[in-house]
Amino acid sequence: MTPPPTSDPILRTEHLGRVVQEKVLVEDATFEVRTGEVLAIVGPSGSGKSSLLRLLNRLDEPTSGTVYVEKTDYRQIAPTDLRRKLGMVNQRPYLFPGTVEQNLQFGPAQRGESLAQNSIEQLLARVGLKGYAGRNIANLSGGEAQRVSVARTLANSPLVLLLDEPTSALDETSKLEVESTIQKIVRDQELTCVLVTHDTAQAARLAGRALILEAGRIARLGPTNEVLHA
């Protein structure tokens, strides 16, 4: 775990909220994510962690407030560009049928680009899957599939990586593999991350700051050790 950086915010939410059929999912969430830091969003099931993450890359529409990405209101950014900037990895990898390489090419292909072979190998090396490019996704283990999913998101060169419980559907061995992959990527590239997890130990291992969510509202926000042991 690294201490929280003091750089400018790359992402800032302002009174962000979402209410669906009178049910409050997220309420008045104001916080910022600084360049190069890992911010953990922690809370029990149903506290609104995933709902908050989905608001950050606008997979869902806020019913109040907004998000600023590098000081620009994200409603001014085309959704396709916004989602490339704020790359998301889900709890389940949802790989597309085909090979690992085809999955990695998906994001760049959406804007008419193609990744060179050495870029693919570099991406796979970063997630510890060197030589996996030609493998069919049907032959991957759960942990390998999740690491391909991380590499696929990185193929879009995101500004911020949004991780939605990336290890919660994995067994203990795969969980540690994926976690160490995330740790390595964050450390080597100083990539900004927002990690949703219900696992406070994982938050303590990976994040410099933590945000505790309770019933959709921010209960505490600050350095991980202080917040988790408050």
């Binding site: 959406q110 998101t153 879009n156």
Partner: protein, 262 residues
Amino acid sequence: MLKYFSTNQLYLGLEQALIAAMAAMLVVLLARKRGIHLESETLIAMVRGLIQIVAVGSILLLLLRGPRWTSGFLLAGMIVAAGATSARRAKGIPDAFRVSACSIAFGAGSVIALMTWLGVIDTAVTALVPVGSMLIANSMNTNGLALNRFRADVLAHVGEIETALALGAEAKNSVSPYVQAAFEASLIPAIDSLRSLGIVWIPGLMAGMLLSGARPVYAAIYQFVVLAMIFAASGLTSLVSTLLIRDRIFTAAQQLSLQPGR
């Protein structure tokens, strides 16, 4: 056997309808034993269908003596009814009725217009209305199948679709495999009808033409003509409806609005 009991054609028809309906209800009862409840839906559909076909038969009787342009109104009415019927297969999708009616109007309407203009369909009310109704009815079925399949596929693949969106895909690209699958699946009945023509079934139109004195070879060829037109109308309808419905399951900010439980 019924002929021995009924000499009046109307009574004979009602008795035949009753026996056929009993056969259908027998299947419903068998389904009920397996826990599938279709009773009320089937009963209502049968009563409705019988009333509607008798009503249309009576109107047709009047139209046969009317001017040719009246068939246009009748076909337009059929398109609206077909749109309303197949829109029920797209629960949760906004504008389903408008999409269905427009797709059927475009698919069936353009084929009817073109074929009438080229002389493939006779402009007489007695030819245009029955043939046109066949194209509309089949387009309605195809449209219903396409919408139903598309809706089911989207609801079953929300994770994959949102993953594609999260990777920067345009909304239309994120559902393109399901648009294609819906289009292909909806055309299976039309393709199978063409493929099995004359072997598995001899359709009613050909039987009717033979009964009314047409030459058997011409009746057979015209049956193929009708099925080819049905395929064209159904294909166009499905193509348009899947493209129109695709855009309606997303918000302006390219968020998937068709979600389970929403």
